[in-house]
């Protein structure tokens, strides 16, 4: 069994919110995804990925901003990791 990993970055912390960014890593070797290879996300929301058989295994935590850095922006906030096994 080999793992395929899909990472979706969503608009809010809700799993059914819109996909804003994405990455795909393919342990089967059948595809060779890389940076900047697509302008269209594979799914419109996190739940759409679930309906297609992807299993959620990690979601970013909701962390309060560090004091004094409430207005700073940094990494994408709402990151969800999914897997499929083939």
């Amino acid at each position: 069994m080999k793992q395929q990993v899909l990472v979706l970055y969503l608009n809010t912390s809700a799993l059914d919110s819109e996909v804003l960014a994405w990455a795909f890593y393919d342990g089967t070797g059948k595809t060779d995804p890389t940076t900047g290879d697509s302008d269209l996300p594979p799914y419109d929301s996190g739940t759409e990925a679930l309906r297609d058989g992807w299993r959620l295994f990690q979601a970013s935590q909701l962390l309060p901003p560090y004091p004094g850095h409430e207005y700073d922006t940094s990494f994408m906030k709402h990151e969800f990791f999914f897997e499929k096994l083939e």
Binding site: V7, Y9, N11, T12, V19, L20, A21, W22, A23, F24, P33, T34, T35, G36, D37, S38, D39, P41, Y71, D72, T73, S74, F75, M76, K77, H78
Partner: protein, 270 residues
Amino acid sequence: MTTTAPLLSSVEVARFVANGFHRMDAVVPAELNEQAIGVLDAGIPHVPYGTPVAKAFEEGSFARRLIEVPAVAGAIRSLVGPDPTVDHHAVHIREPHEGSAQPLHGDAIIDTRADAFDVQLMYYPQEVTGTMGGTLSVPGSHLRRTNESDTGRYQNLRGQTRLTCPAGTVVLLHHGIWHGGRRNDSDIRRYMFKIRFNPTVPQVRLWDVADLDDPRIPQELSRYFPWCEHATARLEIFNRIKLWRALTGDASFDIDYWATRVANRPGRAA
């Protein structure tokens, strides 16, 4: 660097503050583009970090003629002012069918300057088609505080720019913008020449400010980008307000009360 080149307008600089880049398609004359690949293959002489432009690039040299193209010179002056120094320069080549893309990154190291920025010139001497792996960049990402390739996990973002352009295109980038060379799936070697400029004067009202009250300025600064979380997008606007205040010297500038509201503490000392 002295120039009588056309300066950017306030609306154009506001667009730069929101987008993190200023793009000029086919701005470099064909005569220079035709010489470029030979010159870039031969190599542009290395210069120490922080060398004044006039010392870094001799009068009449290819690089000097490139940055003296009037529209290019005017845009550089509008953003980093007269007499910037050359931080460094580099020729980037993506070989045909090169295996992978660069990870998404910001250049140098995390850079938290709130009232100053460097500009990176990227010059494309040849037409760049979709399969040639033109530079990927993420409009509006430049104010996010991330370090170099720590963003490498992100492969694609809604609204990203996968650059295609005619020969002679120049893009001026804010130092913080997320970008990367894409995989070149074509049979053609792709060239890009980069120069990073450091300002040597305060970056305040360096452009043509005749239109400083144009109502399109707050519209430009209020832009939402498709990749940006709705909540974080409000913080991006707040941070653009702060940068616009620094660039204009107008500490009262605001949009939709975002900055004023959270600073209102009646009767309290700073």
